[in-house]
């Protein structure tokens, strides 16, 4: 715990700035991809990029990478729960 706490203290500001640069770049990529002809892939690709951005925010801005692993476990349980909701909904709609 203590070593992890120390680790938190030394996260340099530059890391946050780089994450921010990456987030803005990914936003730029999604917007410019919009103007290409990949219509069918567009929504899927946009969601993929959004998920990459969400990962950066959760791991770095929300500090999960530097927290105890229990937080990552809790988040995975949340994602699995939400995945079940999505899965059941689509199974339901696909069989109507």
């Amino acid at each position: 715990m203590n070593s992890r706490t120390e680790e938190r203290h030394v996260v340099p500001d530059s890391l946050y700035v780089w994450v921010w640069v990456a987030l803005l770049s990914l936003t730029g990529i999604t917007v410019s991809a919009k103007y290409t002809d990949l219509q069918h892939l567009a929504i899927f690709a946009a969601l993929l990029i959004a998920t990459a951005k969400a990962g950066l925010v959760v791991l770095y801005f929300m500090h999960v990478r530097f927290e105890k692993p229990i937080f990552a476990v809790m988040i995975l349980v949340l994602l699995a729960t939400y995945g079940i909701y999505i899965g059941l909904t689509f199974v339901d709609y696909a069989n109507r």
Binding site: M1, N2, T5, R8, H9, V11, D13, Y16, V17, V19, W20, L23, L24, T27, T30, V31, K34, A42, I43, A46, L47, I49, A50, K53, A54, V57, V58, Y60, F61, M62, H63, E67, K68, I70, F71, V73, M74, I75, L78, T81, Y82, Y85, I86, T89, F90, Y93
Partner: protein, 219 residues
């Protein structure tokens, strides 16, 4: 549950070692865990709406694209950049406070609030523009459009509105954190209040990260 209990107990033990004596049952690990659990309910709240969106996108793909074409991509992109920047200043503010750089932390918190205000102002102009063009729930013009477009804009106003409400709540929350940082109630040894405000703010950013492509970029 047993895991969570064990983590809390060990954290409470380590909490004392972390920054000297923590009187009054100050337990940052438990506080943070509680905040995350609250954020999970927020994820499921927005998550349910995203599922509704997904189902109707499946049913009205073409009409959703027509609806999306009515939204301005530059406006949405600028608001995305503003929110991402506010997340950066929030993270930097907490880092500054942890290094006992109070003035820098306060400046960064005010920058965060400034970004939040800018986001809401742009959103307000955007909505006002839609209203004058007869695009709002129940408007005569909108009701003449296709069913898919009516649903698209119903979801647009519901989801971006609920998100804007969260931005609106974030502003006094961050200001409260700033005021506690100024008085020293939030300090390098006891900053979980500000960290939790930060977690909330990043979640607001997270929701927008998905709202932006799903509403603005599918035309």
């Amino acid at each position: 549950m047993a895991d969570a209990g064990a983590a809390r107990t060990s954290a409470a033990g380590a909490g004392g070692a972390e920054g000297g004596a923590h009187a009054g049952g100050y337990d940052p690990m438990a506080a943070k865990m509680g905040m995350w659990l609250f954020l999970f309910t927020e994820v499921l709240l927005f998550g349910a709406l995203f599922i509704v969106y997904g189902v109707y996108l499946h049913g009205f793909t073409w009409q959703f694209r027509q609806g999306s074409a009515r939204l301005s991509i530059p406006v949405g992109a600028v608001n995305t950049a503003i929110l991402l920047t506010s997340s950066l200043t929030m993270a930097l503010a907490i880092a500054a406070l942890r290094r006992a750089r109070q003035v820098r932390a306060l400046r960064l918190l005010f920058a965060t609030v400034g970004c939040a205000g800018a986001f809401l102002a742009i959103k307000a102009f955007e909505w006002a523009g839609k209203f004058t063009h007869g695009v709002y729930p129940g408007a005569g013009f909108l009701l003449e459009q296709t069913k898919g477009e009516i649903i698209f804009f119903g979801l647009y106003f519901t989801m971006t509105g609920l998100h804007a409400l969260h931005v609106l709540v974030g502003i006094p929350l961050i200001l409260w954190g700033a005021s506690r940082a100024r008085t020293g109630a939030v300090n390098p040894e006891r900053c979980v209040f500000l960290e939790n405000a930060g977690l909330y703010w990043h979640l607001v950013d997270l929701v927008w990260i998905y709202l932006f492509p799903l509403f603005y970029l599918i035309s």
